[in-house]
């Protein structure tokens, strides 16, 4: 019977967090591609949604996946936080699982850095033995 039960069409949404000043609520900006009728070109159209975030784990700039709530929680809050897709400053590449910053990897990818250090310590030990 309740008319406002589920938000129209928007069951799952991906957006960027723009504000966390409310308690347990995140303001999320969602962009969709809308066709300009005359130019026949797609442009981003923004819409803000308010999402319930019980653990206050979002920071401004995160990319976030929202799920529609079965019943409207407050006058404006219609979605809840499902997961943080890309955390700002700590983006993890889904293909490799490593931390990433822009077009570089933050951690060294291969483990070959350890061997030179190991060989250096071995050489130092050899020198000590010969000195003694």
């Amino acid at each position: 019977m309740s008319v406002k039960s589920a938000s129209v069409h928007a069951k799952w949404i991906v957006g960027k967090v723009i504000g966390t000043k409310m308690q347990k609520t995140a303001k999320v900006r969602v962009t969709r591609l809308v066709l300009d009728q005359y130019l026949l070109k797609y442009y981003n159209k923004r819409k803000t949604y308010f999402a319930h975030d019980p653990l206050e784990q979002c920071t401004v700039g995160d990319v976030v996946l929202l799920k529609a709530l079965p019943e409207r929680r407050a006058k404006h809050v219609t979605h809840e936080l499902a997961e943080v897709v890309y955390k700002v400053g700590n983006v993890i590449d889904p293909l490799t699982g490593k931390q990433v910053a822009g077009s570089l990897f933050r951690e060294p990818l291969t483990d070959s850095m350890e061997n030179p250090a190991g060989s250096l310590t071995e050489k130092l030990q050899e020198l000590n033995i010969t000195a003694a």
Binding site: H9, V14, L40, K41, A82, L95, G102, S103, L104
Partner: protein
């Protein structure tokens, strides 16, 4: 006078309607991550440039988002209705390979599309008259060689009820 921009053919209705990929009903969100420089992302960049408008035209209810220069790798990610996520690696692939792969895994097959089109044809009867949204014609006056609309051209007196009633009154 030529159209403006690079490859302005992308901005024609004909090109948009020729899009292959119609997503299954469970696909809700499509995310494309790519880099603006580098050869590995070249296929994905071309995919975004050429194929995304076609995909969005055929799937108006799917949210499509582009992320540039977030990760060194390029990939596509789909978010389905049950909470499932599909990750498609697009590094080093050609844009045609990417679109064919996406069509194979998440697109509606030819048979399903044909069946839907038949169902749509069955529902809409071209012989019906009604609002422009649902039927081809609203009034018989729109059809060639029929009596034209009396709003534009007055009807001849023999067809007008008012005149006939007057004549009847005078006779009697």
């Amino acid at each position: 006078m030529p159209m403006k921009g690079k490859y302005p053919i992308r901005r024609t209705l004909d090109y948009l309607q020729k899009g292959d990929i119609v997503f299954k009903n469970t696909v809700k969100i499509m995310t494309v991550n790519y880099n603006t420089h580098g050869e590995l992302s070249d296929g994905t960049r071309k995919f975004v440039f050429f194929n995304i408008p076609q995909i969005q035209y055929k799937n108006p209810w799917v949210q499509v988002m582009m992320f540039k220069n977030l990760t060194p790798s390029s990939f596509l990610k789909f978010y389905l209705d049950d909470g499932d996520q599909v990750l498609v690696d697009a590094e080093g692939k050609d844009h045609k390979d990417i679109s064919q792969h996406v069509k194979k895994i998440l697109g509606k097959s030819e048979e399903v599309l044909h069946a839907e089109e038949l169902a749509r044809m069955v529902h809409s009867n071209p012989a019906n008259f009604g609002p422009k949204k649902y039927c081809l014609r609203e009034c018989m006056c729109e059809v060639e060689d029929q009596v034209p609309c009396p709003g534009l051209i007055p009807l001849p007196n023999e067809m007008r009820g008012k005149y006939k009633a007057q004549m009847k009154g005078i006779e009697v």
